[in-house]
């Protein structure tokens, strides 16, 4: 076991500093230690902005995967608009540009009492403040029969990577005239408009390549993010393809049999060519095993600092956190990360943290050239993160082609910017 303690690190620094730049080095990573668990939008942005705001901090990012595949724009990969490489993010610039130490390893234990994190690779990291940004995990068997093995046959594709490719291959292999089922979960879940963007882009793919096919959305809800805008687009473009079945009309999937290829609601049984089951979710497993989640499966936090209300010196951001009106989105996670980074710096200095000021902006593609958006600015009101009254909201209904096309172009620009801002 390797114990990377502060003493070891300062010892090494001291040796190097003695060679030449004592002054320059003293400003480099000799300050308090912040460990970040998870390298998605939340974790990567937090690590980067901690160093931007205070380069003296000793910032370590631990992420299980050597690269991160983003969920935003993974729907464009599913339908062949982009390759996997388009959504692959690397961590090297966090190190070369900002001085973040990055470890590819899996955190298996967090002990808030001793302020220590342990990894599967046998390393131990001590921290003064910890940021946990693990994203989501799935509640297997919440839908009867849907477990990790079933997901290899009926992909969720709700964590980007091999699952994204599996869904793409199944769509390519299905016959013209086949049925696609998408089963979105109830609230709360990662990326509220995501299942409906996926339905839209798959319908666009079917219309072009397999026009006799149908797409059924078997929903566990009666309303969803940007629903009026999606339905407006579906009526215009995919009236013969998409059918949305809300919970009130028995849309909720209660059971699957992956081996037989069947998907069941309480009243009907389907045998689709492609079944995309998006199961109910919780905070990432490490947050739960560390005791950071409440009964809901997600993590209660202070709305201004994102410090866990269940563990001192531990902050939870992104999809894993209960963040009031902020949706579980990449932009929310990234915006929370900056607020959290600033709060940690204030807390380490014994200063009062700033009040939260955060944004969410996210785009959905109803077709490759048809974009819609939702935006909101957040502040804390009555102890809860709430959107600023009189602002925010979704794109207008009834907008013309130029407007939708412009938002589709902005969607791509948004993606490039947020990836740059988070990982580079």
């Amino acid at each position: 076991m390797t114990n990377i303690s502060r003493r070891t690190f300062n010892g090494l620094l001291g040796a190097a500093g003695a060679l030449t730049l004592a002054g320059g080095l003293s400003a480099c990573s000799s300050g308090p230690r912040v460990v970040v668990v998870g390298g998605g939008f939340g974790g990567a942005t937090a690590a980067k902005y901690l160093k931007r705001y205070d380069p003296t901090l000793d910032v370590t990012l631990i992420e299980a995967a050597p690269t991160h595949f983003t969920c935003p724009f993974s729907n464009t990969v599913v339908v062949g608009m982009n390759d996997m490489s388009y959504i692959e993010r690397k961590f090297d610039k966090l190190t070369s540009m900002y001085g973040v130490k990055v470890f590819t390893d899996t955190v298996i234990a967090i002990d808030p009492a001793t302020k220590v994190v342990k990894t599967a690779g046998g390393k131990t990291f001590e921290y003064d403040r910890l940021i946990v940004s693990p994203g989501i995990d799935f509640k297997w068997n919440a839908i009867e029969g849907y477990d990790a093995a079933a997901a290899e046959i009926m992909p969720h594709a709700w964590k980007a990577g091999p699952q994204t490719m599996l869904l793409k291959k199944q769509l390519e292999a299905m016959p013209n005239g086949g049925l696609v089922v998408i089963a979105p979960p109830g609230n709360p879940f990662r990326c509220p408009p995501g299942p409906y963007e996926r339905a839209s882009l798959i319908a666009s793919y079917l219309k072009r390549n397999k026009p006799k096919s149908k797409l059924l959305i078997l929903d566990a809800k009666d309303a969803f993010a940007k629903d009026k805008l999606f339905k407006e687009g579906w009526e215009k473009m995919y009236d013969d393809i998409i059918e949305w079945v809300p919970a009130a009309k028995n849309g909720k999937v209660s059971k699957v049999n992956a081996k037989d290829g069947t998907v069941e609601t309480d009243f009907e049984k389907f045998k689709p060519a492609v079944a995309n089951i998006i199961p109910p979710q919780s905070a990432g497993q490490i947050a739960i095993s560390a005791g950071l989640a409440d009964k809901s499966g997600f993590c209660p936090v202070d709305p201004n600092t994102f410090e866990s209300t269940l563990a001192k010196n531990v902050h939870v951001i992104g999809d894993a956190a209960i963040a009031g009106d902020m949706p579980k989105s990449g932009y929310s996670a990234s915006s929370q990360a900056k607020v959290c980074a600033a709060a940690i710096i204030a807390l380490l200095k014994g200063e009062k943290p700033l009040p939260l000021s955060a944004i969410n902006t996210c785009y959905s593609l109803v077709a490759p050239d048809y974009g819609i958006s939702v935006a909101a600015v957040f502040q804390v009101k009555d102890g809860k993160i709430a959107s600023v009254p009189g602002s925010g909201g979704v794109s207008p209904l009834g907008a013309n082609y130029q407007f939708r096309k412009k938002e589709a172009d902005f969607a791509a620009g948004w993606y490039q910017s947020i990836c740059q801002d988070s990982w580079a």
Partner: protein, 102 residues
């Protein structure tokens, strides 16, 4: 442990490379303005189709933001966002981005 031994070297390189880069203290204006960077790039250096702020003068940015807030300027999404901020806050955001490295 082997990988870790390289860190001081890396840290040294970082100290040299980063020397000209002024850290931005995490004050209220910085944190408020940095939430814009998700769409417009770190320090407003957008690399894609989103408008960049680099090279823009503070007055120019202020006028655009005021017009988004009032509705005088057509927008897809910025009208919805600008309405959340006071004129003073919009001015502070404009001053922040105008002062960032080009």
């Amino acid at each position: 442990m082997r990988g870790f031994l390289t860190t001081p070297g890396l840290c040294l390189a970082f100290a040299l490379a980063a020397a000209p880069m002024a850290a931005s203290a995490a004050d209220a204006v910085t944190v408020m303005a940095d939430s814009c960077a998700g769409c417009h790039g770190t320090d407003g250096h957008s690399i894609g189709g989103m408008p960049a702020f680099s090279g823009k003068k503070a007055d120019e940015l202020k006028k655009v933001l005021h017009d988004f807030k009032s509705g005088a300027r057509e927008a897809t999404v910025m009208d919805r966002i600008a309405k959340a901020y006071s004129v003073e806050q919009l001015d502070a955001i404009a001053d922040y981005f105008a002062s960032r490295k080009k």
